[in-house]
C-alpha cells in the first residue's frame, strides 16, 4: 500500500502542467474512483487548501463535529455512487459556507483529490482534470473493504 502512495507522489510532480488536460471528456463508460483518478501531489495541494479554508469547520482531520459533517466515513454515505462532478459542483456553489464560490475550479478539484485520499481511495498516475465532463464520467466508488483503516 505504502509503495503505491510513494510512487504516485513521484509521478504527480508534474501536476501543474498536466492540470486540466490529462483526462478527456466523459466517454459514457464511467470510470470509478477505485481506478486511481488523482495524484498524490494533487491530494497534497488539496490538503493545504483544506487546512486553510475548510479545517476551521470540518476539523483538522476532516473528522467533523456534532454539527458539521465529517468529510470521511459518513461522507461516503452521502456522496458514494455519485459523480465527482456533483461533488465538485457542490464545492463550487456552497463551500466554504462563509464565502461560497470563492474557490477556483482548480482548487476544488485539488480538494476532491484530498477528499478521495482521505476516504481511502488510492491515487493514480494521472491527475484529476478540472474539466466538468471528465468529472461527470467518474463515479465515487465504495471504499474497498481492505482499504478501510
Amino acid at each position: 500500500m505504502r509503495a503505491w502512495v510513494l510512487g504516485a507522489a513521484a509521478l504527480g510532480l508534474g501536476l501543474a502542467a498536466a492540470q486540466g488536460s490529462a483526462a478527456g471528456p466523459a466517454t459514457g463508460a464511467a470510470t470509478g474512483t477505485g481506478a486511481g483518478v488523482y495524484t498524490e501531489a494533487q491530494a497534497a495541494e488539496g490538503a493545504a487548501i483544506f487546512a486553510e479554508r475548510c479545517a476551521m469547520c470540518h476539523g483538522k482531520q476532516a473528522e467533523g463535529t456534532w454539527e458539521v459533517p465529517a468529510l470521511k466515513g459518513r461522507f461516503m454515505a452521502n456522496w458514494g455512487h455519485g459523480t465527482l462532478a456533483a461533488l465538485s459542483d457542490y464545492l463550487a456553489r456552497a463551500m466554504p459556507q462563509f464565502a461560497p464560490g470563492t474557490l477556483s475550479q482548480e482548487d476544488n478539484v485539488r480538494l476532491v483529490a484530498f477528499l478521495l485520499k482521505t476516504n481511502g481511495h488510492r491515487a493514480g498516475a494521472k491527475p484529476l482534470s478540472a474539466d466538468h465532463a471528465a468529472l461527470a464520467g467518474i463515479t465515487l466508488d465504495a471504499v474497498p473493504a481492505g482499504a478501510v483503516k
Partner: protein
C-alpha cells in the same frame, strides 16, 4: 390582565415554596413605592401589594465562565417573501416546499406543517416522503402520520444534529420570518393561521413529562426607563431589499405579533415592589420556550411508534427527489435549500448561543443591555444581540462557527445583575 396574573403567580409560587406561608400574608398593605417605578405601571394584579422585603424571590444564576459548557451557532434561513410553501413537479413527483422560516421555524412548526401536509393530502397519497429532519421536517412527518399517511424521512442528520437544535428555543413566530414588502399583504393572514395553530400545538404539549414546552418568566431590566421599541424607516438609508440582495434596515422586516396578542402574553412593567432585581426598571412577560432534548424525544417517539422510517442520506440535486419511491415529497431542508434547490432568495442570518450548566432552581430569563440569559432544562442560554441592530444582526453572515468573545461578554454584563439579586436574596 390574565396574562400578567399568570407571570406574577408563577414568581410568587416559587417564593412561597422557599419562604413558606408567611410570604402570602406579607402581600397585604404597604403603599411605599421606591423610586424607579416605570411610568404607568399597574398595581399588583391580585389586590394586595408586596412589601419591599417580600418581593418575588429569584435565585441568582451563576454567570462564571467555568459554567460555559457549549457554544452553538446556526444560520436562520430568511426568505424575503416568507417561508416557501409552494409546490412544484419533479418528473412525476409532487414536491411541497416547507422551508425558509427565518428565526420562526420552531414557533411556526405545527402551523406550517399543517399547510404543507394539507397540500400533500390533496392528491390522496397513501405514503409520502419528507426530506429534512429539523423541526419543520419532523413535525411535518408527524402531522402527516396523524392524517393517516405512511411516512419516510430522508435526511442527512436526525433532529439532534440539525440547525434546529442550535436555536435558542423560545416562541418567536415573527423573528426574521420575511420582509413585509416582498411578502406582500396576504402573508399576514397565512402567518396568523400558522402561528395560531402552532400555539395550539404547543399548548397540547404543556405539562408532559420532560417538559418539552414550558412557560417561564422573562424579565427585561434596565437602569433607564424601558420604552417599547417601534421601528421606523431610517430616512438616511436609501432603497430597500432587491431580489438577490439583503434587507437594508430593520423596518423592512415583517412584524405580525400584534395579530395574536389576544393569546400570547405581552410584556408588563413591574412596580418597584414587584421588581425582584436591584435595577430601577423592569418588565416581565410569560414566555413559552421549548426544551430541545425532551421535545425531540417526544416527536421522534411518536414518529417511530406510528411506523415512520428514517433513512440517512444526502441529496445534491433536486432531480433526486424524483427518484424516491414516494411520489409526494415535503421538502423541509431549511437553510440547505439555498444550495440544494438553488434558491438564492434564502438569506443567511447568523445567530449564536452559549450554554451554561443547567440551573433549574433559577427558572427565569433576563435581558440587560445586549445580554440575555434564558434558563432551560438543557442549560442556561446566553445571547448577545446588539439592541440597536435588531433584526439586522447577522443578516448576510453565513459563518457558522461560534465566537466565544461575545458570549463571555454576556457573563460580564450579567455579573452586576446577579450580584444585585444575591444581595436581595
Amino acid at each position: 390582565m390574565g396574562v400578567e396574573r399568570q407571570g406574577y403567580e408563577g414568581a410568587l409560587g416559587r417564593r412561597h415554596v422557599l419562604r413558606g406561608g408567611a410570604a402570602m400574608a406579607a402581600l397585604g398593605g404597604l403603599s411605599a413605592c421606591a423610586g424607579g417605578r416605570v411610568a404607568s405601571a399597574p398595581g399588583p394584579v391580585n389586590g394586595p401589594m408586596v412589601s419591599a422585603g417580600n418581593r418575588p424571590h429569584l435565585v441568582p444564576m451563576r454567570v462564571s465562565p467555568d459554567q460555559l459548557i457549549d457554544m452553538k451557532c446556526c444560520i436562520r434561513p430568511l426568505r424575503a417573501a416568507g417561508p416557501n410553501l409552494g409546490t412544484q413537479m419533479v418528473g412525476d413527483t409532487l414536491v411541497v416546499h416547507n422551508y425558509g422560516h427565518g428565526g420562526s421555524g420552531w414557533s411556526l412548526s405545527w402551523g406550517s406543517a399543517e399547510v404543507a401536509v394539507g397540500k400533500a393530502l390533496s392528491v390522496l397519497p397513501s405514503e409520502i416522503a419528507v426530506v429534512g429532519c429539523g423541526i419543520i421536517g419532523l413535525t411535518s412527518a408527524v402531522v402527516a402520520q396523524r392524517a393517516g399517511l405512511k411516512v419516510t424521512i430522508y435526511a442527512r442528520d436526525i433532529i439532534q444534529r440539525t440547525r434546529t437544535f442550535r436555536a435558542s428555543g423560545s416562541f418567536t413566530p415573527d423573528s426574521r420570518v420575511c420582509l413585509s414588502e416582498p411578502a406582500g399583504p396576504g402573508f399576514g393572514d397565512l402567518w396568523e393561521q400558522m402561528a395560531r395553530l402552532s400555539w395550539k400545538g404547543f399548548r397540547s404539549m404543556l405539562g408532559l413529562p420532560g417538559e418539552p414546552v414550558v412557560f417561564a418568566d422573562s424579565y427585561n431590566v434596565s437602569d433607564v426607563p424601558i420604552v417599547k421599541h417601534v421601528e421606523h424607516p431610517d430616512p438616511a438609508i436609501k432603497g430597500a431589499w432587491q431580489p438577490g440582495g439583503l434587507p437594508l434596515q430593520n423596518s423592512e422586516f415583517g412584524k405580525y405579533g400584534d395579530r395574536i396578542k389576544d393569546i400570547v402574553p405581552q410584556s408588563q412593567p413591574l412596580s418597584a415592589e414587584e421588581n425582584p432585581f436591584a435595577m430601577p426598571y423592569a418588565t416581565r412577560v410569560s414566555q413559552m420556550h421549548f426544551n430541545f432534548p425532551s421535545y425531540a424525544h417526544l416527536l421522534l417517539t411518536e414518529f417511530f411508534q406510528r411506523g415512520g422510517l428514517f433513512v440517512e442520506r444526502d441529496f445534491n440535486d433536486p432531480s433526486q427527489y424524483g427518484q424516491l419511491r414516494e411520489k409526494v415529497v415535503i421538502n423541509a431542508t431549511g437553510y440547505a435549500a439555498r444550495d440544494l434547490w438553488r434558491d438564492n432568495t434564502v438569506i443567511p442570518v447568523r445567530g449564536q448561543t452559549g450554554w451554561l450548566v443547567p440551573q433549574r432552581e433559577a427558572n427565569y430569563s433576563v435581558r440587560f443591555k445586549n445580554a440575555m440569559l434564558m434558563s432551560k432544562a438543557d442549560g442556561v442560554v446566553l445571547m448577545n444581540n446588539p439592541v440597536e441592530l435588531g433584526e439586522m444582526f447577522g443578516v448576510g453572515d453565513s459563518m457558522e462557527l461560534p465566537d466565544k468573545g461575545p458570549l463571555l461578554e454576556v457573563l460580564k454584563i450579567m455579573e452586576p445583575v446577579m450580584a444585585g439579586l444575591a444581595r436581595r436574596a
